[in-house]
């Protein structure tokens, strides 16, 4: 590079949150005008790095330099903004305000200064300046429109223009394509290349590796809070990149609940999903799960796999397709119908959808079966206690007693209560969305062991997750990408195969797997 000082140079960055190490001796260097990708799996430390680079958080150790100079003091927002701009995954424009006002929020005055307390806003001048700013970055948007009237990519352009208007020549894009369709992505990339020609440098964070190859020249991989490698993308093949993200895993330490080596039981089809589609989430998804089988439904955040799992539980009404459990059609879009048909459900977030925090363990565990706890619609405390006691011992829930409020339990034990609730109805099919979300390793083993037992007892389980550890328990794994099932792997898949499929860089489904996907 001609310019010796990179726009950003971070070295030895370490950041801890309590006992969790979010970043350990991490580094990154972005040259002027470079488009640099940062990739890594969940928990790799990408978001922490972003918040440190943008001054939202301070590193515990390490040096951070912009254009060769030390980073500004924490809290000096204007100084940070003039060095680094950031477009977050979640939109930060205010929908009800005009584009012009969004661009100059809280700096309505001349020259980008804040106005005096009593100085009125000059709307005409504001619009003129907004138009000028948008033209400078080639954004074709009317500044008089309200932000909510824009398309998603137009809104992003406005955010980029606003971010750059503070004077920064370095911009961080945190998963900018997550909410865009193919056309929007194309427009965004065209805009980014154009800005790059003007000398703007990018740090591009994405879960879609193909985009990294399309847009970026250099890629940095983080894994488990550490820097793994930095290389030009042209020198890094797909499989090498995926390998760097997942790391090598020794097969000797395979956990006991893994499905590897298990004889595939060819039981009757318990769950049949045909041509299921939900607008804006997924389309024409078909799958079959047989008795004695654990099926994985892998996919990253935007793949639609979670919505598909929730649809099976009756939380969404699909627009197309049918769900059949044990040979009988299930009325979709109704939780009681799904429960009656024999679908047990472990929701994605136990705090939001799983538990009633201030109620007791017993009450939470029996929430789905209150009709079985006494005659004539009564709920007898003695039966509730007995039922809960059985669940507590079956699932090994660590609690002072059935009457303890569920909020007082540890995360892993709370999750066991959620599973208990799902299993209370003795379902044919257990649909578990991210069943080990936020639990410690020991609970994780026990939870996945429980799921395995469900299948071994002649029922079937569907694990919807993006965690490879969750999916290792499965007899086979279907990978979803952008709302479609794109690949199927029998047990014994390699990490990089599955991750590649989830990130959308997989080869098309091999013919020999096709017969399982209708």
């Amino acid at each position: 590079m001609a310019d010796p000082s990179p726009v950003v140079e971070a070295d030895g960055i370490t950041k801890r949150f309590g006992a969790t190490v979010a970043l350990s001796d991490a580094r990154i260097t972005v040259a002027p005008g470079e488009s640099h990708a940062l990739v890594g799996r969940n928990g790799a430390g990408k978001s922490t790095l972003v918040s440190i680079l943008t001054g939202l958080q301070q590193a515990d150790a390490g040096t951070l330099r912009f254009n060769g100079e030390p980073a500004p003091a924490p809290g000096d927002t204007d100084a940070w903004r003039s060095r680094v701009a950031c477009v977050y995954q979640r939109s930060t424009v205010i929908p009800a305000l005009t584009v012009a006002e969004n661009l100059f929020l809280n700096r309505h005055g001349l020259n980008g200064q804040r106005t005096g307390l009593l100085r009125p806003v000059s709307w005409r001048r504001l619009r003129t300046r907004a138009a000028g700013l948008l033209a400078e970055y080639g954004v074709d948007v009317d500044p008089r429109l309200r932000a909510e009237q824009l398309t998603v990519e137009q809104r992003q352009f406005v955010e980029i223009a606003r971010a750059l208007s503070f004077g920064a020549r370095f911009i961080i894009l945190d998963e900018p394509t997550a909410k865009l369709d193919a056309r929007g992505i194309e427009l965004l990339f065209a805009k980014l290349r154009e800005l790059q020609r003007q000398g703007v440098a990018f740090l591009f964070i994405s879960h879609h590796l193909q985009e990294v190859y399309d847009l970026c020249t250099t890629v940095t991989v983080y894994r488990d809070a550490r820097h793994i490698l930095t290389a030009p993308v042209t020198e890094l093949a797909h499989h090498a990149l995926v390998e760097a993200m997942t790391g090598e895993r020794s097969t000797a330490t395979e956990p006991a609940w893994s499905a590897g080596g298990r004889a595939t039981a060819a039981g009757a089809a318990l769950l049949e999903v045909a041509d299921l589609g939900l607008a804006g989430a997924y389309r024409s998804c078909s799958l079959t799960a047989r008795a004695g089988e654990v099926v994985g439904l892998a996919g990253s955040a935007a793949s639609g796999n979670v919505r598909l799992g929730e649809t099976l539980a009756g939380l969404h009404r699909p627009h197309t397709g049918t769900v059949t459990v044990a040979g009988r059609a299930v009325r979709t879009g109704r939780v009681p119908a799904a429960l009656a048909a024999g679908i047990g459900f472990v929701p994605e977030d136990r705090h939001l959808q799983g538990l009633v925090p201030q109620r007791s363990v017993a009450e939470n565990a029996t929430l789905t079966v209150t009709d079985q706890l006494g005659p004539y619609g009564t709920v007898l405390p003695s039966r509730t206690r007995a039922f809960a006691a059985r669940m507590i011992s079956d699932l090994d829930i660590k609690t002072p007693g059935p009457a303890t409020p569920v909020a007082a339990l540890s995360g892993g034990n709370q999750q066991k209560v959620v599973i208990a609730r799902a299993l209370a109805t003795e379902p044919h099919v257990l649909v578990a969305v991210k069943p080990t979300n936020g639990v410690d390793i020991k609970s994780k083993e026990s939870l996945l062991g429980t799921v395995r037992q469900v299948a071994d007892a002649g029922r079937t389980a569907l694990i919807v997750s993006d965690e490879l550890d969750d999916l290792r328990v499965c007899d086979r794994v279907l990978a979803m990408f952008h709302g479609r099932i794109v690949a199927e792997f029998p047990a014994g898949w390699r990490d990089e195969q599955l991750v590649a499929a989830m990130e959308g860089v997989a080869d098309p489904i091999e013919p020999k797997d096709r017969h399982d996907i209708h």
């Binding site: 928990g43 430390g45 955040a301 929701p347 799983g354 009709d371 409020p405 609730r421």
Partner: protein
């Protein structure tokens, strides 16, 4: 995203500390019982008239109408909703029932005489149920903000009552309407027996019926209740209808008690209703509280007024003391239960 990592908390709360918290939480609903006892001792000290059956039954009878509104509001709050319009229902439901059954000539208040007189009570209850149903429709089907919807309903129904009754009291109420509020059974006013019975039924339903238990689940976490197969909207709607019906029934007792429907019947009660419910341990955020607690809340408010009256405090100070006791009771229940009130 590292957010899943950062949100991962280490195991919180060892079982050892859990024991003490649970014990206190279990008795949270009884936190006003000592307050009631202290009030009783003060009452006994200030006046020999306090501990007579006449006085206590009088307090009880005065508490009945308020306590029915509190019963209704407690059910609605436990299910995680609010209904401000109860205080208007208590007045407008009897007035509309009178308007429907009273003859169109001859009295000071003329109705339209559409139904026979004996239907007054069923009509009154049906009107209460209808008000609850309409509130439920607006809140649950049109997804309007419950607070503002019922605030609007409060004003609208109050206005409807004033317009229909032409701002006057209705004194020629039919005998069936007077009976419940004015007669005595087994030496105590019938209204007290009825209220006690309704609280008992309500308490049992909340404790032992699955739809009663569902209210706690809905109020505590509606999404979780939905994911567990509870028909959330249907149950909440039922509770709102039940609430309106109870308020209309309170109107019947109140009318019977005083022999007439005053134009401002129930006006401003909603503050007392909320105060009694909340100091009785029912959470404004839903999912928490018992009917017994709510009942002690009503009795506390009523006893304070009674003791003050007996102590010779001028009635002009009543409102001030009512406000003071609400805040005091909140402080007591805050520290008795050891939980913050968000």
């Amino acid at each position: 995203m590292t957010s899943t990592d950062l949100g991962r908390h280490p195991d919180t709360l060892a079982p050892a500390t859990g024991g003490r918290r649970i014990d206190l939480a279990r008795y949270r609903d009884l936190s006003l019982v000592p307050v009631l006892l202290v009030l009783g001792i003060i009452g006994f000290a200030v006046s020999p008239a306090f501990l007579t059956s006449d006085n206590l039954l009088g307090v009880g009878q005065q508490a009945t109408e308020l306590s029915l509104l509190v019963l209704a509001e407690a059910l609605i709050l436990i299910a995680g909703r609010m209904d401000l319009s109860l205080e208007s229902t208590i007045g407008v439901a009897p007035v509309l029932a009178m308007w429907l059954v009273l003859p169109d000539h001859g009295g000071r208040f003329n109705g339209i005489g559409l139904f026979p007189t004996w239907t007054a009570i069923p009509l009154c209850l049906a009107i209460g149920a209808l008000i609850g149903a309409v509130n439920g429709f607006l809140i649950l089907k049109l997804r309007l903000n419950g607070f503002i919807v019922t605030l609007g309903a409060l004003t609208l129904l109050r206005g409807l009552q004033v317009a229909v009754s032409q701002g006057q009291s209705i004194v020629n109420v039919p005998p069936s309407f007077r009976y419940l509020g004015s007669s005595s059974w087994l030496g105590a006013p019938a209204a007290i027996w009825i209220c006690a019975l309704l609280f008992l039924i309500g308490g049992c339903a909340l404790g032992w019926l699955r739809h009663g238990r569902a209210l706690y689940a809905i109020g505590g976490n509606a999404e979780a209740a939905r994911a567990a197969g509870i028909r959330v909207d249907r149950i909440v709607w039922t509770v709102l209808i039940l609430g309106g019906t109870l308020a209309a029934f309170a109107g019947i007792l109140y009318t019977g008690h005083y022999g007439s429907i005053s134009a401002d019947q129930g006006n401003g009660w909603i503050f007392q209703v909320f105060a009694a419910t909340v100091i009785g341990g029912v959470s404004l955020n839903g999912g928490r509280g018992t009917l017994f607690g709510a009942l002690t809340g009503v009795l506390t408010l009523q006893l304070v007024v009674n003791v003050m009256t007996l102590a010779g405090v001028p009635p002009l100070w009543n409102q001030f003391l009512n406000g003071a006791i609400i805040i005091l009771a909140l402080i007591v229940s805050r520290f008795a239960s050891g939980e913050k009130q968000e």
